[in-house]
């Protein structure tokens, strides 16, 4: 028996015969994703170029970072990514309460990430480090600070979406908002998976 789904039904629950190759969340969020990836990509390249010019300063700076906390924060963000993906799936099957719970979980992961990051920043500032200390600390504070603002924005998007989801504001036929918020959160994940090895791993004095 074949039963067609509306064109805006999330891809997660479609069968292979129903794939329509649409952009989940709409085109606008994907244009934003492209611009963000290009922007962060340029910062990554600039920091890599600075590290090539001065590997000693980068090695010394990296040795003062908490690799374990960076790894834990990576796990926290990836778990938040799993939660928003589950929220998209729950929304696709019309499970309003589950959608809301998963989104609240993702928002909580963002809060935990920011708490750990603030602890790291406090530690760095206690060492007397500022943006102008040297090029390692400039790039570390600038790039992770910009990423931190994205996590904060993600939490601000997730909270009202989770709140509205519990009131059945979304569903299988109105999935764009939940999908767009999920795409934004995955973008935050995607950027961090490159930030982590660039600053925390593989730099030796």
């Amino acid at each position: 028996m074949s039963e067609s789904l509306p064109s805006n039904t999330p891809l997660a629950t479609r069968g292979s015969e129903e794939r329509t190759r649409e952009l989940p969340g709409g085109t606008v969020i994907w244009i934003f994703v492209a611009l963000e990836l290009l922007t962060f990509g340029l910062f990554f390249i600039a920091s890599a170029d600075a590290r090539r010019s001065d590997p000693t300063i980068f090695g010394e700076g990296a040795s003062r970072l908490h690799t374990l906390l960076g790894a834990i924060n990576t796990g926290v963000l990836l778990t938040g990514g799993l939660f928003v993906a589950q929220a998209v799936l729950a929304n696709a099957r019309g499970a309003a309460r589950s959608t809301s719970v998963w989104l609240w979980g993702a928002a909580a992961s963002g809060v935990v990430f920011m708490g750990i990051k603030l602890y790291e920043y406090a530690d760095v500032l206690n060492m007397g480090v500022t943006l102008s200390t040297n090029r390692f600390w400039f790039f570390y504070l600038f790039i992770t600070g910009l990423h931190f603002l994205h996590v904060l924005a993600g939490v601000f998007f997730l909270v009202p979406t989770a709140w509205r989801a519990s009131g059945r504001a979304y569903g299988p036929r109105d999935a764009t908002t939940v999908e767009a918020v999920a795409i934004f959160w995955h973008l935050v994940d995607l950027i961090w998976v490159f930030v982590f090895p660039l600053f925390y791993l593989g730099q030796r004095t």
């Binding site: 290009l38 390249i45 890599a48 589950q86 799936l89 994940d189």
Partner: protein
């Protein structure tokens, strides 16, 4: 068409398996970076390779690009490969 519960169970399994892979790659990268037997250049290349793989898992499965428009999927994948290659070439 498959029944919806069967699809949901399969989709959940894929999402969870992806998370396991992502976390596993992170733990593997940290373990490698702490190893005394490897040079900085090897660690940098392998951890960036792991980041590229993680990026593809996030973009392809979590962001659903594997089912998205081919042009967007190729652009995203191409950008990640280009960026990682450039970083590997630049970094000491």
């Amino acid at each position: 068409m498959k029944h919806m519960p069967e699809r949901v169970a399969k989709a959940r399994l894929i999402l969870f398996a992806t998370w396991i892979l992502l976390v596993g790659l992170t733990i593997g990268s940290v373990w490698l970076s702490e190893s005394d037997n490897l040079t900085s250049i090897v660690v940098t290349r392998v951890t960036l390779g792991a980041a590229l793989l993680k990026g593809h898992l996030i973009a392809g499965i979590y962001m659903e690009m594997r089912d998205g428009p081919i042009a967007w999927a190729l652009a995203m994948s191409g950008f990640l490969v280009f960026q990682t290659t450039l970083l590997v070439v630049i970094l000491p």
